[in-house]
Amino acid sequence: MTDVQTRELPAGRTTGRNVGRPIDRVDGTAKTTGAARYAAEYPYPGLTHAALVHATISRGRITSVDTAEAAAVPGVLAVITHLNAPAMKPPPPVSPLNLSTLVSGTTVNYLNTDEVHWDGQPVGVVVAETREAALRAAALVRVGYRELPATVDFAAGQGDARPEKSSPIQPGAVAKGDAAAAIAAAAVSVDVRYTTPPHHHNAIEPHATTAVWDGDRLTVHEGSQSIAWMRSHLALRFGVPAAGVRVISPYVGGAFGGKGMVWAGTVLTVLAARVTGRPVRLALTREGVYRTVGGRTPSAQRVALGASADGALTGLIHTSVTRTGRVGGMPEQVTSASRHLYDVPNITLQQATVPLDLLSNTAMRAPGESIGTFALEAAIDELACELDMDPILLRMRNEPARDPVDGKRFAHRMLREAYALGAERFGWPERTPRPGSMRDGKWLVGMGVATAYHPSWQFSANVTVRLAADGTVVVRCGFHEMGMGGATAQAQIAADALGVPFEAVRVEYGDSDLPTGPAAGGSAQTASVAAGLLAACEKLKRSVLALARRSGDSPLRGRRPHDLQARDGGLWAGASGPGETYAAILGRAGRASVEARVGSDTRAGEILGQAKFIAKFLRDRRRWVKAACGAQFCEVRVDSDTGEVRVSRWVGSFDVGTVINAKTTAGQLRGGIVMGIGMALSEETLLDPRTGRIMNPNLAEYHVPVHADIPPIDVHYLNEPDPTMPLGLIGVGEVSITGVAAAISNAVYHATGKRVRDLPITLDKLL
């Protein structure tokens, strides 16, 4: 159904034997046969089960708790509330000196307070011999409240939004020239408002924790995007040494940002295990995930554009309001793509946020860019219509040579090429521009296009690589596998770097006892681990060469590292020169293995690593603008009677640097498009503005796309390396959700002549 096209690499560049190939993921068999064990599947002798009691008010104080009925349910071991919970240390304030402080989902010290901050906040946890007993008892805990006035309605609260301040990571505002004046004076202009609703991740695996104490040592099984930070967080909250805390997370059943933070369920499982002295498992219900794990903020945005009659942009204003919880959450970089996409002399960008009495928002696939590109790229389409100009032409007319805001160089930018490839594959020239002009029977057919854009990041990763005398390699790094294919990609990279077969490499990950890996976020994991891995492989080859040179018999005697090629299970002087296998070198030296390590996991090493990382990060940011980008093309069919929208065709053409694994990359790109289709057409968390309560916390009423909603998705990528990134790779996890909603809304306009500026584009908005 889906066609993945891999561009041949230009001649003259050496490609590895494995990097770029569509190799099957190494965990595929374990997952498809059910052998893969997820966090809620670890058996322990004496395992108990927990369930949460959720507050049903948005703000107030607990005045009474009646646990008698709950405690009487057969099999119940403990009913823990703020009245009897042991003290925990509060979540730490965010500190740039300790990045793990970023990982608190909220600032609430659960069950250590009588205060309620959102509808759904856990106010109790029940532990029982069975999950059924725990759930039943949780339903029987009666909690009385004194309600306090709460502000929960985003639409009503927007007036109180405060402009965001800039941070070194994210500028909250841009003011270049005078955009308002330029737009007022422009020959053609648009000034439009867009809104997007709250969303939830809905990973197929609901959040689950299994926690076991042994004295002050703690083992936690949890599907997580940040095991190292989770370890530090739990150690701090429970006042035990981090070295004794182990977070194990080999399989994460989808995350999309929803498993980046430490949420209530994790902390309370550990607490419950502390109280009962038994291993405790908490598998959240789907509703439990909605009530205790943050989702994507809603947004209200304004985009105003001015252009000359020939389509040269003269002014751009993009402003946004999003919300956080009063107890945590983060501003989203809604206007981020507007900084980089168009060559405009006058730009005003401003993000504002309003804190509400709701659960913190959190990152969800391309936070900021996914909703920001909806507004920006729909507005560009509106301007193209005003100009009577092809929307691709308008974009290419304004494609910048350097960053429009500060003139920095692009590390790599091939948006023109992505558009050219996509337009050809999609058949864009067949589109007739007039709205409603492409009817097919009762179906109104429309074609839309939009730009995808996501910044590329790189964090630090500690990695060890061990080469054994039998030629096998073990890579160790505590990174995360949420389904992207990370272990497979890193094995490909290691195999090529060391010149060993792919099958000879085993990658260990998903365990906080391993060298510390990066948090999986910002589409940065592959590049971050690859950088550490490549460095470790280099070190390793030097060590091996040093071993070889110690012997008078080695053909590598006198060779320098840069003379050598790693291939055929050894080191060789050039393509045809002498050399020998690792097995021979290690065998002669009497060594069972050689190991190399990058980064240190000691406290001092961590601080040093963090300092180095921040220094490199800031240096990089001063020099370059780095991003993945692409062009999204779609065809929609709108029922002329009922307004039902069906996406009938998709072509995504991306510039994501070097592709490590053609198969998993295509999977990531396609998955983002699917999620974007959901965002465009059906997904919306219904939060009752009267109460702050989520009313559709389940998969029957929160409409993610089903198979029948998804057309064949044709994914292409340019496969041109970014010279500033390891192996030239740019992360692919998020870019492909960006631009999707805009492409669909533009196609719907082309089909119907109606602009829907409020997501999701449900049929009632088209009647």
């Binding site: 049903t56 759930l135 009922t642 039902e644 009267r690 009313m695 796309p705 049929l763």
Partner: protein, 331 residues
């Protein structure tokens, strides 16, 4: 979920005896609705009587050319049954447009009739709901009511009956057969469900101890064409915003037979009698279809969230009849 006693009834007589002996007991068919309601503590039966072992799993032809469907026939089985696909294709279409294959494999004919509303506030124990807790109020009225009804609703309840199958059955003049200790009853399907009025918790005319045993359909009108059209928020696996079950026969340019029922717009499968009256003997034209739809919908009342349903229903009725007209003339 509260603990309950579980019984398995081997035959109809035992099932009926068991339910009359246990006030507050509930039958369980496929359990695809009841188990959710148990989990949410909305239904609280002390005893659950499993009726899936009852010998009510056949689809039989009746002497008059109609069919009799056992109450325990699974939805997927019914949709695929030859007697249904050949004589009542609209019923197949309706069933297949509902839920998912897995749910349809479990769901039974009787259970489908008695499935309860999907109103978000009915499902949420923290919300006010006159249906769940009589007299507590209705949070849907000032809240999310996009899914809710525009016909037959009251100031106490806006909830819709969510079944697709029932809408087709309403248009096909189905009769429901029940058994209790008091004997056998036959109830026209269109009279099975009540309108909410001031007692939205009373959803059907059935007594608590009545077992649905079968559904009977009269023979389909000869020479008519039929169709079930469901409009929803995604291509599959969503409840109807509006659905239309229509049977149409045109002779000499005029409507000679018409049956029309609506789903997604009312507290019960809604037989559109006013529209039928307007159509019968009228010229089979788009104008007549529109007039008929409007005749039905003049009684509609809407809230801000569901006002679109009136226009959507009008359009869907007209489009469905238009399609049937084309299909009938092509045949």
């Amino acid at each position: 979920m509260r603990p309950f006693t579980y019984l398995r009834a081997p035959d109809v007589a035992t099932a009926v005896r068991a339910i009359s002996a246990e006030p507050g007991a509930k039958f369980i068919g496929g359990g695809t609705n009841l188990v959710d309601l148990l989990r949410e503590d909305i239904e609280q039966p002390g005893t659950v009587i499993d009726i899936t072992g009852l010998p009510l799993t056949g689809v039989e032809e009746l002497p008059d050319g109609g069919i009799r469907i056992g109450a325990l026939v699974r939805n997927s089985h019914l949709a695929a049954h030859r007697l249904v696909t050949t004589r009542y294709p609209m019923l197949s279409q309706a069933i297949l447009s509902g839920a998912s294959p897995q749910l349809r494999n479990m769901a039974t004919t009787g259970g489908n009739l008695l499935q309860r509303t999907r109103c978000l506030y009915f499902y949420d124990g923290a919300a006010a709901c006159n249906k769940r807790e009589p007299g507590s109020g209705c949070d849907a009225i000032g809240g999310f009511n996009r899914q809710h009804g525009v016909l037959g609703v009251s100031d106490d309840c806006l909830a819709t009956h969510p079944s697709d199958m029932c809408v087709a059955l309403a248009a096909l003049d189905a009769t429901v057969e029940t058994r209790s200790e008091h004997g056998v009853r036959r109830i026209p399907l269109v009279d099975l469900h009540r309108l909410p009025g001031t007692t939205p918790h009373r959803e059907t005319v059935l007594a608590a101890d009545e077992l649905i045993t079968a559904i009977e359909l009269p023979p389909p009108p000869s020479g008519a064409v039929s169709r079930y059209r469901k409009v929803r928020d995604r291509a599959s696996y969503a409840f109807a915003l509006v659905s239309v079950a229509a049977v149409l026969k045109v002779r000499d340019g005029s409507v000679s037979t018409v049956r029309l029922a609506l789903g997604g717009v009312a507290p019960k499968p809604w037989r559109a009698y006013a529209a039928e009256r307007a159509l019968l003997a009228a010229p089979a034209t788009e104008e007549s279809f529109t007039r008929a739809a409007e005749a039905e919908l003049t009684a509609a009342t809407a809230r801000p969230g569901n006002a679109f349903k009136i226009e959507l229903a009008r359009r869907t009725i007209v489009a469905t009849l238009r399609d049937l007209l084309a299909e009938g003339s092509a045949a």
